[in-house]
């Protein structure tokens, strides 16, 4: 009888451990655009990923205007560091998105003009870039070529593409 109780208690304990193990979070599927942006941005690992809600709340960009996006920002808002890459649904949406991104850049610059003049100077070098339906706003980038690289993905040689690089 004692042995039975012991076995039952041991089974309960083991079940608990098994259930805890099963509660692990499922790994998210990789997002190619995000991976590409992170491969270009030297400080990408230090940036946090913002969401479509942030695009809407902070910049006024509606989800139906784009098919894909990446929005990264530094945890310290006073650095001015942000990366926004958008794929617009069509030409009209691309024009609207360009205006909204420009308005957002100007807002951030206004905030910093007298508050942190050195950051204002850094932000004043940023500009909204557009090619076809792709838009890029890279602010306080650590490298000068980051915005253009984000806009124009480098064409990979055929053998590298075949290897999955």
């Amino acid at each position: 009888m004692k042995k039975q109780w012991f076995v039952i208690a041991l089974c309960c304990l083991l079940s608990c451990f098994a259930l805890c193990a099963c509660a692990e979070t499922v790994e998210e599927e990789p997002h190619p655009l995000t991976e590409y942006v992170l491969s270009i941005a030297q400080d990408g690992e230090e940036l946090i990923h913002l969401t479509e809600d942030d695009l809407l709340d902070l910049i006024g960009i509606e989800p139906q205007e784009y098919t894909d996006f990446v929005y990264l920002a530094a945890t310290n808002a006073l650095t001015g560091r942000e990366i926004i890459v958008l794929k617009a649904v069509d030409e009209e949406a691309a024009e609207r998105l360009a205006e909204l991104l420009q308005a957002y850049l100007e807002q951030r610059m206004n905030e910093m003009r007298n508050y942190l003049p050195e950051v204002y100077q850094i932000l004043s070098k940023a500009e909204v870039l557009r090619k076809d339906l792709t838009l890029v706003l890279s602010m306080a980038a650590p490298t000068e070529d980051e915005p253009l690289l984000l806009l124009e993905p480098v064409e990979l040689p055929e053998e590298a593409a075949a290897d999955g690089v």
């Binding site: 809407l56 310290n76 905030e111």
Partner: protein, 257 residues
Amino acid sequence: MKRLLACILALICLAGVAGAEALDRNTLFEFYEDSVFFGDSVMHDFRRYRSGIRQKDESFLPDVDMICTTSISLYEGSRRYVSDDHYFQFRGVKSSMYKLAKMVKPSKVFVLLGMNDPVGVRIDNSLIYIQDIIDGMKEFVPEAKVYFFSMTPITPRYCLQRKRPEYQEQLNEYNRRLKALCEEQGVGYIEIAEPLKDADGYLNMEYSSDEVCHLNSAGMDVWVQAMCDYAQEQYELDQWIPRAELFKVREETPEGD
């Protein structure tokens, strides 16, 4: 063996009863649902902190809109009109906090402003702006309950940079009077300054991102804990009922009441 198991079960039950009054974090977060937070750069960092955590944990402070302008002062934020340089912006709309609150229609409004003013030096004027916010919110969102966070502490370096050697003490006095005003006006006051301080009464460097006045993620953790403590306090004072208990009350209420 049976007696041992019975004792273990009894202990578990006792522990459960003793902890019944302390709500879990997700329940405490309900207190802040359907709300809008207004602030400056300190709140802007808090917004990013929240966004970062919510990437992996959607239960963290859900249903909260945070509207921030980095360099805005309490004075500028309290105004009903906006200038070209200073405004709040939400979903592409540039406006005052009152109009944006009206647009969002929250059940609660939380405000943290003052780091860009000399609130500690001009306490009387600053409290007038606080009163303006209380009055403005009553007019634009009369159904919303308004809360003010205490001013977060600063470091000795801030005092040196601004040439205000006694500014932390002045901020302490401002917070005391802000709390009194909130109590007098029937609005909420949430103490987040004290847990952020070190033994000398300044912002604990372990919580600072810039060694001046902004908070790092450890400081944000403390801020969130203070918010949870406040929600717990409101629960214990019967000022707020969590959803689960609200449903329980409704089920227990006899028909016809």
